[in-house]
């Protein structure tokens, strides 16, 4: 695989937004500013040399000993140059991030999942609701401080149907 040129291009275009570029085993990870994420993502998708037209995954990570606490990783793929790219950005607890769901429609559900599991909100998301857990669930289970068994593990479950209310 040819050396990834996204890093150099990004550094040229957004010198103030690119924090760090890592190369490891031909995998490129670029850390960018959370505030510039939309500009960077639009550039990566629409630049003719790069054309990262596929969002493979969007995931959150909780580093509860770091500040800012959360990291969001975007895995991109370009069908034009057959190249994969990882974009990382950091989000503090309580802060929010701009959505990329209008750039790649695939991001819609992935951002909902990150919201569900980590409680990170995405600005201008069309439908930011819980996607995997029940709507009335309290807490965000993939946060490191969430107990694996949940806060009410030993309590009996009360299921109340709508028509019984």
């Amino acid at each position: 695989m040819a050396k990834c040129m996204a890093g150099d291009l990004l550094k040229e275009t957004f010198p103030e937004a690119v924090r760090d570029i890592e190369e490891f085993r031909r995998e490129t990870s670029i850390t960018v500013d959370a505030g510039k994420i939309r500009e960077v993502m639009t550039f990566l998708k629409e630049n003719e040399k790069l054309c990262y037209d596929l969002l493979l995954d969007l995931a959150g990570v909780d580093f509860d000993d770091r500040s800012p606490r959360f990291m969001i990783a975007y895995l991109l793929h370009s069908t034009k140059i057959n190249n994969k790219l990882r974009i990382k950005t950091t989000v503090a607890e309580g802060a929010s991030l701009d959505t990329v769901s209008d750039i790649w429609l695939a991001a819609n559900w992935m951002e909902r999942e990150v919201f569900d599991m980590f409680g990170i909100t995405f600005n201008n998301h069309p439908n930011l609701r819980r996607i995997l857990l029940p709507e009335d669930f309290v807490g965000h289970p993939l946060r490191k401080d969430f107990p694996v068994k949940g806060p009410d593990f030993d309590q009996p479950l009360h299921v109340c149907l709508e028509e019984e209310r």
């Binding site: 807490g139 289970p141 806060p151 593990f153 479950l157 299921v159 149907l161």
Partner: protein, 164 residues
């Protein structure tokens, strides 16, 4: 025992006999246990020998709910609704470790035993239990139905919800 009581008792026996030999399950598989449940209706295990081969796609036509698999908290309201939609008389088999007790999933999103939501008649442990386990569960349920005394359950169930 008076004549009327004797007649009622033998009527109860006839009704129990009819009920126990035509326990129709509702099609309700939640996880890998459901695969074992499906195998139970194959020719090798032949659940039809016990009158339970008619897996109904509608709870309105079913007598038995085989809760086969992991019940998540998100699934719990749907499970309870399907159970409530089943007409009396109705029975429940908790099939597999997850339905019995939550199984290996001691986590925030799994119901720790389906008996927290609906009453369970027979528990079949195993991860997953073999189809023979389900057949044993059905036989146990049949024994339970056959032993039901008069007066425990209404003899006639009316279709509009309340019991006769």
């Amino acid at each position: 025992m008076g004549v009327e009581a004797a007649a009622a008792a033998s009527l109860q026996e006839v009704i129990n006999w009819a009920r126990k030999n035509s326990v129709w399950p509702v099609t309700f598989g939640l996880a890998c246990c459901a695969l074992e449940m499906m195998v139970a209706s194959s020719s090798t295990y032949d659940i039809a020998r016990f009158g339970s081969e008619v897996f109904r796609p509608s709870p309105r036509q079913a007598d038995l709910m085989i809760v086969a698999g992991t019940v998540t908290k998100k699934m719990a309201p749907m499970l309870k609704r399907i159970y409530e939609q089943m007409p009396e008389p109705k029975w429940v088999i908790a099939y597999g470790a997850c339905a019995c007790s939550g199984g290996i999933f001691q986590t925030y999103n799994v119901v720790q035993g389906v008996d927290q939501i609906i009453p369970v008649d027979v528990y079949v442990p195993g991860c997953p239990p073999r189809p023979e386990g389900l057949l044993k569960g059905i036989i146990t349920l049949q024994e339970k139905i056959a032993a039901e005394p008069a007066g425990q359950r209404n003899l006639v169930s009316l279709p509009w919800g309340n019991n006769g």
